[in-house]
Symmetry: C2
DNA sequence: ATTGAAACTTGATCGTT
DNA sequence: AACGATCAAGTTTCAAT
């Protein structure tokens, strides 16, 4: 099996994420890769499914993030701990979503990882945070739905959003 | 307080989500709204923060989705239930992410909702699914981090992704 | 705030290497 | 596959409403 992506593809993807634009021009300026090559590469990534639409939904498997781990985290109560602990959790490599909830769990953390090694690293990062009392992790066997960014709108009736905002015709 | 968005803004956002492109041209064709007006509206939504970057990360609060609910769902074991039940969960309005896990929980479901009404609706939708045994829901008091789509790349060292894909220099 | 038309920038194509 | 030059196509601006 041949590699889907090489270093150069990543350089382009990182530049897009960094600049927050997919303009050939800007990617060219950020990377030094000629405009036409940037264009060619992005087109190739579209064709092989790594980039899924014009708004750059990425195929996580395609970029090597095959493991999804969902963790529950319990922490010591302190003033403002949802911010301080939340920030520490956010900073761990591979951590993608952090939700602060109240009740029997304090945080829910979703991570995308490349390997078992990273899972071990994740756990030891949790353990190195002083305020954390206990964690519990689950592997997602399959990701059935993820609608993110602008795609989220497909989850709703226009009606629902209108009434949510108090819009009237 | 004046409304951030009106019907027309939504029409444009929905068209973008539907067409999977933000081209003035295509949005114009899909909606009949003149190109220059589409341009003007998108620019305005950028300025007031509803659209956060060129790759169309949306401000969920801005479009009225103020409530995040995270649910754990337990279901009867059946052949292929992760698909059948997972699909039913995915189809509920406002459901945004569905993860199938094994062990003490079967599914983790993340929803974005506009109102308490929608929360009640969510729960009754859960209850109407035959295979579901039990559910448990938490409200996210705050969403501390969400890196989605192409932004996910910012969570990683380039190194990590390279080694995850088995790339070598 | 909206729009049609003009001006301009950029993405896409093509031919070489 | 990479790339510089070219051109069609789309974005952005502008002036009028």
């Amino acid at each position: 099996m041949t590699q889907l992506l090489d270093e150069r593809d990543f350089e382009i993807l990182f530049a897009i994420a960094e600049c927050e634009t997919a303009s050939n021009e800007e990617v060219h300026e950020a990377t030094g890769i000629p405009k036409s090559t940037v264009h060619y590469r992005i087109q190739s990534m579209r064709e092989n499914g790594v980039i899924k639409n014009d708004l750059f939904e990425l195929d996580r498997e395609g970029i090597g993030l095959k493991i999804t781990v969902i963790s529950e985290v319990w922490a010591e109560f302190e003033e403002g701990y949802h911010e301080t602990v939340g920030r520490k959790l956010s900073d761990i490599e591979g951590v993608n979503q952090v939700y602060f909830t109240m009740g029997d769990t304090d945080f829910i953390v979703i991570s995308r990882l490349t390997s078992r090694d990273m899972v071990e690293r994740l756990v030891s990062e949790y353990e190195s945070i002083d305020e954390i009392r206990r964690t519990s992790s689950k592997f997602a066997i399959s990701v059935i739905k993820e609608n993110v960014d602008i795609g989220i709108l497909r989850d709703y009736d226009e009606e629902t959003l209108h009434s949510g905002l108090g819009l009237t015709e």
